[in-house]
Subunit: 300 residues, 2 copies
């Protein structure tokens, strides 16, 4: 499908792309670049690619597809560095969790004749680094592409095909709308998970060891996404601020009403909400985005 | 261990106790009682016990151990009904998620010579009803007992042994302290999970079908506990109000600070929290209360 793919950044998502692209035979050559010598060595030991570079300018030479797989905050600097070395006709893409910001910082730095097709695979685990990747990560998950309106249809089709080959379903949408969707389906959930884990670990009336011991009543579920990569998530909240604050405001408005229902002992209001929310999980299972196994099929 | 155990209420927890007690041979006779004829028939079809009663007074006759496995809100009425039929020397227990309230409503109704040892197994799944139970549910989980200070040591020991035989670790503590612990490790997590699922399903800017489709970015995790039994959870919030509002207040105070960090773009504060919260999951895994498998070992 491609002669040469360059992956810049080789964490959970980058390493999973490398493994899946190799398995599906989507590239003759996979080049891997990362700033950290230690991470580069780790990627080499895991045999994730065909060539390894700490100099990102060297890594992108002659690549047909370049995918930015670093935290979003360094995209601008990387583009400034690699722009002169990108081949005419190449496709640049990324896997960032925010899209309007990415469009804003990358578009002005694009060399002429280079296609920019931003992407966001809705997939991941709580682990990070090159050893966290696995080739089936994207299977059955959605990948959202947010190309600008004047982008080459051919480049969009090629990247769509690439993600379908990796096992994903592909949807093309507007960057701003993407950012609203992920604010409610991913960013605010992470924010409140990080927050409750923070609250629980700093109480005086309940000790941290009690929180750990008795976590199976619900709390432990939240610790999974609150164990996600700190730098990646810092950058998400720095670059999708408006959509996150919008959705967080709605969450807080609803929580205020729920708090009043608890204060007043309004059992009917509580039961009504708790019955309504039950249905949505069923729909997610039916849509193939969740397991029907009890407790996620968790064994412990 | 017991001649006759009576389970009042035969949902997820009641049916799991029945199956585990049978498997471990902890009772010569297991009697099952529930108000709903349909549920009673279901329990019968599943062969969960030795005898089945819609009349709870009949069910408790000659029982050595009676366990209330219904939502907490009906405990008081059940006790009023069964009190005259309980055998001298019997142990009454329960599996309710709140303990100070249970102590308060049951203690005045206890016949003389009957031992009351309240219990709360920290275990469950998002499914409910008699068919949701399985005998290994309590294995490795904690069961908290909150007997009053003047309770018979023998009865406490007998119930502790029973829960240990079911596979649990047992801890004895004060009812008020129990209620604070579960407010932060279970009740507030459920409240915010119910709340975000409610918020997400009522947006105008993002459709419900988009929320379902793109739920794998974190949201779907919350739908699991937000699919828990509505009546059971209504009763939890009606009967552990003060501890829940205390912990919810702390959560909201912290969330307000986090919101300000997002508004101001304070990357250092975000990264500091996100790094700190990562450690606690590791401790929960080390304590044997969580799997180290990526994504809960979820297969979908």
């Amino acid at each position: 499908m491609f002669n040469k793919i360059t992956l810049i950044g080789i964490g959970l998502i980058g390493s999973s792309i490398a493994l899946a692209a190799r398995q599906k035979n989507l590239a003759k050559h996979i080049a891997i670049s990362t700033r950290s010598e230690k991470t580069l060595q780790e990627a080499k030991n895991l045999n994730l690619g065909d060539s390894y570079y700490s100099d990102v300018k060297q890594a992108v030479k002659n690549a047909d597809l370049i995918i930015l797989c670093t935290p979003v905050g360094v995209f601008e600097n990387i583009m400034k560095t690699i722009a002169p070395s990108i081949k005419q006709g190449a496709i640049i893409s990324d896997v960032g969790s925010v899209k309007a910001h990415v469009q804003k910082v990358i578009s002005p730095l694009l060399p002429k004749g280079v296609h920019f097709v931003p992407a966001h695979p809705m997939a991941g685990t709580e682990y990070s680094g090159p050893s966290a990747g696995f080739p089936s990560l994207f299977e059955g998950r959605w990948c959202m592409l947010t190309p600008s309106e004047n982008q080459s249809k051919m480049a969009i089709k090629k990247l769509s095909d690439f993600w379908r080959e990796l096992g994903s379903q592909v949807e093309i949408m507007d960057a701003e709308h993407h950012d609203l969707i992920v604010a409610i389906t991913s960013h605010v959930p992470h924010l409140i998970a990080y927050n409750i884990v923070g609250t629980a670990s700093e109480l005086e009336t309940v000790s941290k060891s009690e929180v750990i011991k008795y976590s199976a009543g619900g709390f432990r579920d939240f610790t999974r996404i609150a164990a996600s990569d700190p730098v990646m998530w810092r950058d998400v909240f720095l670059t999708n601020r408006d959509a996150v604050l919008d959705m967080l405001g709605r969450f807080l408005g609803d929580l205020d009403k729920l708090k009043i229902a608890v204060e007043k002992g309004d059992g009917a209001a509580l039961e009504e909400l708790f019955t309504r929310t039950r249905a949505i999980r069923k729909s997610i299972i039916e849509a193939g985005q969740e397991t029907s196994d009890a407790d996620f099929g968790r064994h412990v």
